[in-house]
Amino acid sequence: MNNTNKTENRKLGTILYVVGVMLIISGGISMLTSLTRTIVYSMLALGAIFVAAGLYFNHSYQTKLGTLKALQYFLLTVGAVIMVFPFYWMIASAFKTSAEMNYFPPTMFPQNWLNFDNFYIAFETAPFGRYFMNSVITCLSSVTLTTFTTILGAFAFSRLNFPGREMLFSLLLSMMMVPFEMLVITNYTTIVKLGINDTLYALVLPFTSSIFYTYILRNFFQSIPDGLYWSARVDGCNNWRYLWKVMVPIARPSLVTIVLLNAMASWNSFMWPLLVIKQDYNRTLPFGLYTFTTEVGANNELLMAASSVVVMPMIILFLFARKQIVGGVARGGIKG
């Protein structure tokens, strides 16, 4: 008697549960339609009650686990949608015509996904090709120089012995907490005094060495066992060759991280170009994009097209090297 009662309860619970979930899902979908709000809300509320009742009657481990998992997925998905939405919206808006942009409520999808007019117009109105080249040149030279100085510096601080090494390094580390916003003032005067303001040199020179990246790489270099070094030395390998033939290949993951973080920082830097660059043809992408806003006024579709151009290389880079970037950020604890 008791047993049959239980199984019946369970069946009832399962039915209630399924109906509730379906109600919630359909309520969620009808949110997007023009159905009366009260109906939608009551659908959702009813669904929640049904699910709760179903769980009450059928509190088996599987159902609970399933609900919990579904809930987790739901939360994660909602969050992910919110995080990604601006990017989707940027790309979708970039393909809309200016008439489409002025619909209210806005349409979720552009009428024509292959409408590249905005990109053409944006590239004609402002020299985005030039900005792009400037960004690439600055990024590449800054990354190359920084990586080079970082490798040498980290090697000296981890492998070579000289008096006052640790003290010097802790001094450097304490300099790391000084915000760039404070150094900017003097760096600006230095750049002006050197007569290279408003040139691409001004964008590269201050960023040729980084204490932070040296710190990361030194930590990695120090984890390479001493035995390797001494055996290489006995084999007649000098420091320079040891560094490039042994250390650097081993430290490749760390180096990749450093290069990626550095490239990101260089590509996205905004305040420094804003300060030192004046002429149009010397601007980098973010700065050029920023000045583009005043040129296009209310034509947001052009702005979105230009923004996509600025953002895309970094997104592609991220899709290919997510693990390295995330690892680097986690290890460094400093925003890229």
Partner: protein, 512 residues
């Protein structure tokens, strides 16, 4: 050669750089010396040319203005009132021609006396046309009488001009756009630095010729780390260490400007920054308040959201790679670009956010131009923007928690929420503390967000100043570098406090 050094450089020792490093240094230092010396001397030469042209133009100016004025006053004092108009007219008619004459006569290296005489003659000739005969004779007498004293005055004046325009003075007056500006400005420094290199080269050459093998090895071993560190330290010195020292000094130089001028030493910059101009709104204090509010609003919310999301991501659900990509995307993208996207989302008339509000039967909000929503806009954007970074830190904190805690808890029948509250949160405490601090520090430097969201002005009605925006404006728009430095020092004060807390946390929990 001692036994020890033989052991240190065995079989293939010939390939080693070894002690030849010293010789290479001598050569490189000599080359650098020649290069810098050449540049310095060239700069010095250019500077002298520049100084001469400055002197010449100031001499022309003084002869032209002061000389003519003195002659004119001498003439005027000799004639009656009625003719003064005519004389002034005739003098001004010759002025332009005289300037050319003075320049060409200076080129021919005529003396000042000759030039003044020429000016007098020209003016006299002009006067003869306009002024009646009887007045001219009076002028003649007066001029003959006064001419020597005028010449003497002008000669003295010219000497003063040349003395006043000493080389340092010329350096200050140089235009930034002048060709070879940096070479001219730093000519002395270049020569001194090149001399230092020469001294080093000489010392090393001396060592090379006098030292025995062991001491040469020692010297090479000292030189080696210096070589490795040099490129790194060059950047650090010029663009990190020097600026730190300089900005502290600059903050005490009242009203320091880009051209290096300042009104005096003292705490005037700090007074200006903290007190502002009485009677007007103090944008620095406003910026400080805004920045603090921004930190207080964004950081805890971001951290709380990040804990939940990181906890869920860490459960290794299916498709977690996709979720991670989605959540971390804002971290890699330019704040400028995504800021523009958010501006479009916040748009009053056609924005998505208002569409959603209307969907839930609310009234559309004027997000960007209404002052009461400026902070909300910033906070929403700030949270979205700093979330990925925070999640990453939280995730790595979570992955550091030993798996056995969870296993034991599960065996004991603890539920997910309970595990989260009783195990995850306490063990994550140091990470949470650290993340709060790091996020606060980076939120303290908020600048790009303001600039981009409000289209280059600090909020719709100058109500969203932040500390860094204030520094930027002081430096870039008002060119008050001293005051910007003082503001930066105040910013640093707060960041320093936060960093000390961070260090404390790291040390206490043995973290990182």
């Amino acid at each position: 050669m001692s036994l020890q050094s033989k052991l240190a450089f065995p079989a293939k020792a010939k390939r080693n750089f070894g002690i030849k490093r010293i010789l290479v240094h001598v050569i490189i230092f000599t080359i650098i010396f020649l290069l810098l010396m050449g540049l310095g001397l060239f700069g010095k030469k250019q500077l002298n040319i520049q100084a001469d042209s400055f002197r010449r133009s100031s001499l022309i100016d003084s002869l032209h203005n002061k000389g003519i004025a003195e002659i004119q006053s001498a003439i005027l004092s000799s004639v009656s009132e009625e003719h003064s108009q005519a004389i002034l007219k005739s003098v001004s008619s010759t002025k332009r021609m005289l300037k050319k004459d003075i320049a060409s006569m200076l080129d021919e290296e005529k003396t000042i006396a000759e030039i003044i005489t020429h000016i007098t003659n020209t003016i006299h000739a002009a006067c003869e046309k306009n002024v009646p005969e009887e007045a001219i004779s009076g002028i003649d007498i007066m001029l003959v009488e006064k001419l020597p004293s005028i010449i003497e005055n002008m000669e003295e004046d010219a000497r003063a001009h040349i003395e006043e325009l000493s080389i340092p003075e010329v350096r200050k007056r140089l235009s930034v756009n002048a060709p070879y500006y940096p070479l001219m400005y730093y000519s002395d420094a270049l020569i001194i630095i090149s001399a230092v290199f020469l001294i080093f080269a000489l010392i090393l050459a001396y060592c090379w010729f006098t030292f025995d093998y062991d001491r040469k090895v020692k010297l090479a071993n000292i030189l080696e780390p210096i070589d490795y560190l040099l490129p790194f330290f060059l950047g650090v010195f010029v663009f990190t260490l020097y600026p730190i020292v300089r900005v502290v000094i600059m903050s005490f130089q009242e009203r320091y400007k880009l051209d290096g001028s300042f009104t005096g030493w003292g705490i005037g910059n700090y007074e200006y920054v903290l007190k502002g101009i009485p009677g007007t709104s103090n944008y620095f204090i406003q910026g400080l308040t805004n920045t603090f509010l921004y930190v207080i609003y964004t950081v805890p919310v971001t951290t709380a959201l990040a804990i939940v999301i990181a906890f869920l991501l860490n459960k290794k659900l299916k498709g977690s790679a996709i979720y991670q990509t989605a959540y971390f995307l804002p971290m890699v993208t330019s704040i400028t670009a995504v800021g523009l996207v958010w501006r479009w989302i916040f748009n009053r008339n056609f924005g998505v956010l208002n569409a959603i509000i209307v969907m839930f039967s609310g009234t559309p909000i004027d997000w960007l131009s209404s002052t009461s929503y400026s902070m909300s806009v910033m906070v929403i954007f700030g949270i979205w923007n700093s979330l990925p970074f925070t999640i990453i830190l939280m995730l790595s904190g979570l992955q550091n928690i030993d798996e056995t805690y969870y296993t034991v808890a599960k065996v004991d029948g603890a539920k997910t929420l309970r595990i989260f509250r009783r195990i995850t949160i306490p063990l994550l405490a140091p990470t949470i503390g650290l993340v709060l601090i790091i996020n606060s520090i980076s939120a303290f430097k908020v600048f790009t967000e303001v600039t981009v969201l409000f289209n280059g002005s600090p909020g719709p009605a100058y109500n969203m100043y932040t500390v860094v925006y204030y520094i930027y404006e002081m430096m870039h728009q008002r060119l008050e570098l001293g005051r910007a430095a003082a503001a930066a020092m105040v910013l640093f004060f707060f960041i320093f406090i936060f960093t000390m807390i961070q260090r404390y946390i790291q040390r206490k929990w043995n973290y990182v």
